[in-house]
């Protein structure tokens, strides 16, 4: 099995927004549509009753989670939204009728109607790049080197990120870039039975 996954080291994400604009460019996303968004989580009190400056914050990049059990595929009346062999969810634009059931069904609000084409679009994991062995635009452009792409079924060793000085992608296992983390530091977005595939590493902070 293959499950293409993006892992984000939230301690390295600084909301530089490169992913948002690189995605726009790579995928020709219409103005006003966002296949990836950076959310600010907090600042929140560090502990019950804490006040400024005892607050904590992180940024959360949210795009299609390429769920294992995707609600969007379930509700699609035409079969346009479908799961592929590499674990990603894709929209077949020839089949899409723009009914937007999937937009409503998606728990993460990451699907958008392309008004010109009358079809629904969303993150493809930069299919056009990954099929050529390249990395998704949001991964390779990430200013803070926070984003990593790989096959979760192969484990952490498979994950690659931004390029080093020789043009080789860095590895998630390189401790110069990725500080140690435990299983308890690895999170996913809320799961309502759809089993999102993206993962988020967050150390020393409450996942909210």
């Amino acid at each position: 099995m293959t499950q293409y996954t993006i892992v984000t080291d939230l301690n390295r994400c600084v909301s530089c927004l490169n992913c948002m604009v690189a995605c726009k460019e790579a995928n020709d996303v219409p103005i006003g549509n966002f296949w990836i968004k950076i959310l600010r989580v907090g600042p929140n009190p560090k502990f019950e009753g804490a006040e400024y400056p005892d607050v904590e914050m992180y940024y959360l990049p949210v795009s299609c989670q390429h769920c294992k059990n995707p609600s969007c595929v379930e509700v699609c009346p035409t079969g346009a939204s479908h799961k592929t062999e590499n674990g990603t969810i894709q929209v077949d634009k020839d089949k899409c009728i723009g009914c937007q059931f999937c937009v409503m069904a998606c728990p993460y609000g990451v699907r958008y109607l392309n008004e010109e084409q009358g079809v629904v679009e969303k993150c493809t994991r930069c299919y056009q790049k990954t099929q050529e062995g390249e990395l998704p635009a949001c991964v390779v452009s990430c200013g803070g080197r926070a984003r990593w792409f790989g096959d979760m079924d192969k484990g952490w060793d498979d994950f690659r990120g931004s390029l080093d000085a020789n043009g080789e992608p860095l590895r998630l296992t390189d401790e110069d870039y990725i500080k140690p983390f435990t299983d308890a530091d690895v999170h996913s977005l809320p799961d309502s039975g759809n089993h999102p595939s993206d993962r988020f590493i967050l150390r020393n902070r409450v996942w909210r």
Binding site: V14, V21, Y127, Q128, E134
Partner: protein
């Protein structure tokens, strides 16, 4: 749609088949593949990947790779090989294509047809007509009112030139030159550092790594200023300890180990508190050898003598020379000199007490020699040095003669008039000055918990060499910019982080004056204005060091914008009636309304611009400026990373856009009747006549910029790297060709930047350019030759009983604290009516100051301005998330959207800066609706007393919800004069009208 008929392999084949194409491993070879143009896969396409340098922001030099297909830029990405940026390319750089091909770019020369203050109703004219119009306009002002009646309004040098900045000084001979924006950004830091050590010392090298990553009032991770986001995050993560100073939780600050959450405008106080710990806390261990040997701490100071001194940095004198030239200063200090003690004694010899011989001795500040020292001491390459990250790192070999200068005690000396007086080392005074600033006192002033102050100091000062302190604009904005900018440098110096690995390694300004290996300004960086005329700069009567700061160059090439506005409006002290602008704005320095009214009343205003920004709508004539993707120029890192590269013209210029340095300045000079451009002065006397072309072409200028790297020079200009390596290039084309292969050069490999602690090696002081055998003199380029803990220039011009205002809180030239002029403590009555402290300047990654508001990829992500406010404060004011609110100071009011943010100090707000609305009508384009400079002070009292920085932060406002009742057109949302709303959602159809047009493309 997703299927591609072109594989990565075939893409490279196509590219390789293209003549002149340069191939490098690319982040996104396939980005082109899903281009909407199916014709892409045509093998006949001309595809090039050009290795260039980004100019999407002010100055970080991120190497980039620009993909050009059939003469059109189709993709830009970061260059992973670039040593200073490591593949970083921010949103501004990526979205640059949307500026290049923007439908609203100014592409043709324009002359206004209506009175100023109205929509100019621009009329397109020919290039020649516009040049003539501009020349006549400037000439008529000069004829009527004299040379100083012209001032410049320079932006951030974004059209890759500083020619415009220097042009008026060197040709028109006006003193009112430079970038007035420099006075609120970097200029004070450069000026302050030039006073005590070397200009640019505030810039840190991060790529060599730091044990403590100390970010003070920065937001580098989103501003890329002046280290790239990627490098900043890399090194922050690798550092053992991270410290962040600022009143709000910042993007990367969320990860800081220690957050010094100070009240806005108290950076000077927290610095004094940290210095107190450094000196008095037994867990802190400053580098006392550095203090004794390289600072003026051991020099004896005597309160009982009249200050005396000499003229320093005179014309033609290499000592004290700065990037742009020299301006003579009168040093007047109470540091004891030989001339105070003996008849006929040398005023340049300063006294210290040697504890070994128990005697009074003298340090020769001109020759930089201790008593008894006859030869310069350099570290021994074998004994003292190790190689570190490609550089030479020397441990200090100690004193060259057998002395141990006293730092403590009090010594009785006999003056030449026979009086016996007490004198004490500067260090004793420094300690006395710091004594009150214990953690409790510092906490009372700054609001930072005492234990955090102690923790930060103990982490940074545990041992010397933990890295430099990165500090940015907030230190410059609260009315005490020069003194505040000196203090972190002193802390860093005590911990021996000046020019250390990861330390204050400085910037390009050094290379001009010290060991030139290339010329960026050739031959402009050579002031030809007589000091008597230079002294006439507006504001010079109040800020007497301004003409010297102008010699420091870079962003320190400024004049006081508030004084300039008064000269325009009130002819005080003389009339300014004309202005020349290179993408300058009226709403960054000083009060926006005052500047607007001043510029509106000018007799003549000409400029060049990319956009119909509000300020240029007051001009008489505007020429279209070229975009950075349309210009070639030599580039170097502004910050401390130490890299050089090239910006390479990627596409032909659209319409009639010009590169101002080569085209506009040259043509304007000819039309104005001058016999040469840019100057008749040679940068060096040995410069062959054949290089002094009166009217250099663009190619001539580019060739001249790399001339010092030419291997066939009749005399050497460049100083090589420690191992003798130099970069040799034949001409500009050769330089570009080598750059394509190599990417950025690390200066450590090709210049004296390869030495850390250059003060040990003599690369921090200018050398006599006419004497190739002149020695390199160890020390600093200051009046005492030392890193000055007591600034003799501060003492001379703003000390006790000088003609000018005493530096507030200072102690005989040791910098001190100034409470902001509008604060709860300094203005309690005002605070009752305006109970909120405003700070500003938070960086949004999308916008470089006023830029980017019309690029759809950027504007859609932050359509309208916001201010951060603590939820408790908001609740007290009845404000909810997203509410439009009025923010009102004594000077005016604006509207921004509330962002409830627990990470900001209650009672404080942080406002977005530099907003205007390109979608609204000329001439104002809505700048008065939300621009924070509407609120800022224009009183001289609120300015920095030394250089005139206006008070941009830490002043008082009130905040209240905008309602239909209290808003024009009954609409809380800001509107144009006809009631049209601004763009405030990502779905506004006007955003799509700003997508690229290829109508003006020249292929």
């Amino acid at each position: 749609m997703l299927d591609s008929s072109l594989t990565r392999r075939s893409f490279f084949k196509i590219a390789a088949a293209t003549a002149g194409a340069t191939l490098v491993a690319s982040e996104a070879a396939s980005t082109l593949l899903e281009s909407s143009n199916p014709a892409y896969a045509d093998a006949a396409d001309d595809v090039k990947v050009i290795h260039s340098t980004c100019r999407g922001c002010g100055k970080m030099e991120c190497g980039n790779l620009v993909t050009v297909r059939n003469g059109r830029v189709v993709h830009i990405e970061g260059d992973h090989r670039a040593v200073a940026s490591r593949g970083n390319l921010c949103v501004k750089g990526r979205a640059a294509v949307q500026a290049l091909y923007h439908p609203d770019r100014i592409r043709y020369p324009l002359i206004r047809t209506t009175p100023k203050g109205q929509d100019p109703k621009w009329r397109r004219v020919s290039h020649d007509e516009a040049i003539k119009y501009m020349a006549d306009g400037l000439n008529s002002v000069i004829e009527k009112y004299g040379q100083h009646a012209i001032k410049t309004l320079h932006g951030t040098g974004r059209i890759t030139t500083y020619a415009t900045e220097a042009y008026p000084t060197y040709l028109l001979q006006t003193a009112n030159t430079g970038s007035p924006a420099g006075v609120i950004c970097k200029g004070p830091r450069l000026s302050a550092a030039a006073m005590i050590c070397f200009p640019g010392a505030h810039w840190c090298n991060l790529i060599d790594g730091q044990k403590v990553n100390f970010q003070w009032g920065t937001n580098q991770e989103v501003s890329n200023y002046d280290n790239s986001c990627r490098v900043t995050v890399d090194e922050h993560v690798k550092a053992e300890t991270t410290i962040c100073v600022g009143p709000r939780m910042q993007n990367l600050g969320k990860e800081a180990d220690i957050w010094l959450d100070l009240r806005p405008g108290t950076d000077d106080a927290i610095a004094l508190g940290l210095l107190h710990q450094c000196v008095f806390n037994s867990n802190c261990h400053p580098d006392m050898m550095f203090v004794k040997k390289w600072t003026n701490a051991p020099f004896l100071y005597c309160e009982d003598i009249e200050p005396s001194g000499w003229t320093w940095a005179g014309w033609g004198d290499p000592e004290g020379k700065q990037e742009m030239g020299s301006y003579p200063l009168n040093v007047r200090t109470r540091i004891l000199k030989e001339s105070d003690l003996v008849e006929g004694g040398d005023v340049r010899k300063m006294a210290y007490w040697d504890t070994k011989s128990n005697s009074l001795q003298f340090f020769d500040t001109k020759k930089c020699l201790w008593q008894g020292q006859t030869e310069y001491q350099y570290p021994d390459r074998d004994k003292d040095c190790v190689e570190y990250k490609g550089g030479i790192l020397a441990k200090d070999p100690g004193f060259p003669v057998d002395i141990d200068p006293a730092l403590e005690g009090s010594f009785e000396v006999e003056l030449k008039d026979g009086r016996k007086v007490k004198a004490e080392p500067v260090w004793e005074m420094f300690k006395r000055h710091l004594k009150p600033w214990d953690e409790n006192h510092t906490s009372e002033i700054t609001g930072v918990a005492p234990e955090k102050i102690v923790a930060a100091a103990e982490a940074y000062c545990e041992e010397p060499g933990k890295g430099g302190i990165v500090f940015n604009l907030p230190l410059e904005h609260a009315g005490n910019s020069i003194q505040t900018s000196m203090l972190p440098l002193m802390l860093s110096a005590l911990m021996n982080n000046i020019d250390s690995p990861g330390g204050q390694r400085g910037c390009e300004n050094m290379f001009f004056t010290m060991d030139t290996f290339f010329q960026y300004h050739i031959p402009w960086a050579n002031n030809t204005l007589d000091p008597v005329e230079q002294a006439k700069v507006v504001g010079g009567d109040r800020f007497p060091l301004t003409p010297w700061f102008q010699m420091v160059g870079g962003a320190a090439l400024y004049h006081d914008p508030i004084s300039a506005a008064e000269a325009i409006l009130y002819d005080d002290p003389y009339p300014i009636r004309g202005m020349l602008s290179n993408s300058g704005q009226h709403f960054n320095s000083g009060n926006a309304w005052q500047n607007w009214q001043a510029f509106e009343s000018l007799d003549f205003y000409g400029g060049w611009e990319l956009w119909h920004s509000p300020t240029i709508e007051l001009a008489d004539v505007v020429l279209p400026a070229a975009h950075f993707l349309e210009v070639s120029v030599l580039r170097y890192t502004q910050g401390g990373e130490g890299a050089i590269g090239a910006q390479v013209q990627c596409v032909k210029r659209q319409g009639e856009a010009s590169w101002d340095s080569a085209d506009i300045c040259g043509e304007l000079s000819k039309e104005m009747g001058y016999e040469y451009w840019p100057t008749q002065n040679k940068p060096l006397p040995v410069w062959p006549d054949k290089w002094m072309k009166p009217w250099p072409t663009e190619k001539d200028m580019l060739d001249m910029s790399v001339l010092p790297m030419n291997p066939d020079l009749p005399f050497p200009i460049s100083v090589p790297a420690p191992d003798g390596t130099q970069l040799h290039v034949k001409d500009w084309d050769d330089y570009v060709a080598q750059y394509q292969e190599h990417s950025q050069w690390n200066l450590k490999e090709i210049s004296p930047f390869g030495y850390y602690y250059r003060f040990q090696w003599g690369h921090f002081r200018p050398r006599n350019a006419e004497d190739q055998n002149a020695p390199f003199v160890p020390g600093f380029n200051t009046p005492t030759g030392k890193f000055e803990l007591l600034s003799t220039l501060l003492e001379s011009y703003h000390g006790k009983n000088t003609k000018w205002q005493e530096a507030p809180g200072s102690y005989n030239g040791i910098p001190g604290y100034r409470e902001p002029v509008e604060s709860p403590f300094s203005a309690p009555e005002l605070y009752k009516e305006y109970p909120i402290i405003l700070t500003s300047g938070r960086r949004n990654p999308l916008y470089f100051h006023n830029e980017g508001r019309q690029q759809p990829w950027l504007r859609e992500l932050t359509p309208c301005p916001s201010f951060q406010i603590h939820p408790d404060t908001a609740a007290e004011l009845g404000i909810e998330q997203g509410d439009w609110c009025w923010i009102e100071s004594k000077r005016g009011k604006i509207r921004e959207c509330a962002d409830l943010f627990y990470g900001i100090r209650p009672g404080t707000i942080e406002c977005d800066h530099q907003w205007w609305y390109p979608e609204l009508s000329a001439p104002k384009h809505g700048w008065d609706l939300s621009n924070v400079n509407v609120l800022v002070n224009m009183d001289h009292e609120s300015q920095d007393p030394i250089c005139g920085t206006c008070n941009c932060r830490a002043y008082l406002v009130k905040v209240y919800k905008a309602t239909p009742e209290n808003s024009p057109f009954g609409n809380p949302c800001p509107c144009d004069d006809d009631g049209t709303e601004i763009i405030h959602t990502a779905t506004d159809p006007r955003l799509k009208e700003w997508l690229p047009t290829y109508e003006y493309e020249v292929v």
